[in-house]
Amino acid sequence: MDIKMDLISEDKINSMSSMEKLRFVLDGVKSGNIVVLEGGLTSEEQMKLIELTMTEVNEDFPGIEMSGYPSKKSFLNIRRQARLTVIGPAKTMRTIKKERDLISAVISAI
């Protein structure tokens, strides 16, 4: 079984509203894809994604696996800059190692 991977550019992500982003990510993941976002999701968007995911969990879709680097603080520590975020179906993707600047994940077809 092939696993599709969507690598989404920061420009495409920035052209969407927060809710559009989350819907786009969750629809992709529910289709079985691994979604990699350049620029990533903010902590608030990730929390909203968890909330949205929980409304759609069922017997066939137990949820998501999500990994990302912590936000970087920019000028005067005021604005937070999200970084790369990887999201996949919990059935397919499993994070095996996560550090501040390294994420190792196993992706396996069922």
């Binding site: 929390m47 968890i50 017997e59 137990p62 949820g63 696996e65 990302g68 005021i78 994070t95």
Partner: protein
């Protein structure tokens, strides 16, 4: 539950801290499933209210707490070494600890946050399939409820299991949200009574935050946590 949206950033936090300090601080106990949140909530109530009163029932089965439970009116007065009981019908427990401050708390024991809930995991604990599916459904609602509560709290005790890798996305998301909202966070490294506990790993993972090693079950170093709560959440 009345929902109140917070404005983001450090400025609203400073304004609140300087001019709108509340008489009662509403503290949420957050963390992943099985970190010991209900055990900690029970420990706080046993220590400062009534040793026979439980906020919830701890369990080794994940997502045992599927509804947020709020216990209001817990008055901690460490300075005068007294503990006042908001429930006149219950038996107050004397407390001889000397601290630095006093604080009136509402404690909210929240369901564990997770990005996935698979009913098969509950079946591994001996639950029948239908019961496991029902629990999974309730657990998803619990996660949503825990997230909604973030709009209505003044501080977070983020509980982590000292025997587990703390650098999970869930922990990072909780901390990131609290920082963005300007809500103070104390990390409690729980289960230090276990032989494979390694609270230093949590301190290394989140060096910018205060980490207090505790055992909510055995009551180890709870004074340190109470003093930090009284100091940070006033």
């Amino acid at each position: 539950m009345k929902s109140r949206k917070r404005r983001k950033g450090i400025l609203p936090y400073l304004i609140r801290a300087l001019f709108f300090r509340k008489a009662t601080a509403k503290i949420g106990i957050y963390g992943p499933p099985n970190a010991g949140k209900t055990t900690l909530a029970n420990r706080i109530v046993h220590t400062f209210v009534d040793e026979n009163e439980d906020v919830g029932v701890p369990s080794e089965v994940p997502h045992e707490t599927r509804r947020a439970v709020r216990r209001g009116g817990i008055l901690i007065d460490l300075k005068s070494m007294s503990v006042q009981n908001p429930n006149p019908n219950s038996t107050p427990k004397s407390n001889s600890r000397r601290g630095k401050a006093k604080l009136k708390l509402d404690v909210v024991d929240t369901p564990g946050l997770a990005t996935k809930i698979d009913f098969h995991e509950f079946m591994a604990y001996g639950l029948e399939e239908e019961e496991a599916k029902r629990r999974a459904k309730e657990a998803t609602e619990g996660v949503i409820e825990a997230i909604k509560w973030l709009d209505d709290i003044d501080g977070v005790v983020l509980l982590m299991d000292s025997t587990e890798d703390p650098y999970t996305q869930t922990n990072i998301v909780i901390i990131g949200n609290m920082e963005a909202r300007g809500i103070p966070v104390i990390i409690a490294a729980n289960k230090i009574d276990l032989v494979d506990a390694f609270p230093q790993r949590i301190m290394n993972a989140f060096p910018q935050h205060t980490v207090i090693p505790i055992s909510a079950l055995k009551g180890e170093n709870m004074e340190g946590l109470y003093e930090e709560i009284a100091r940070r959440f006033r």
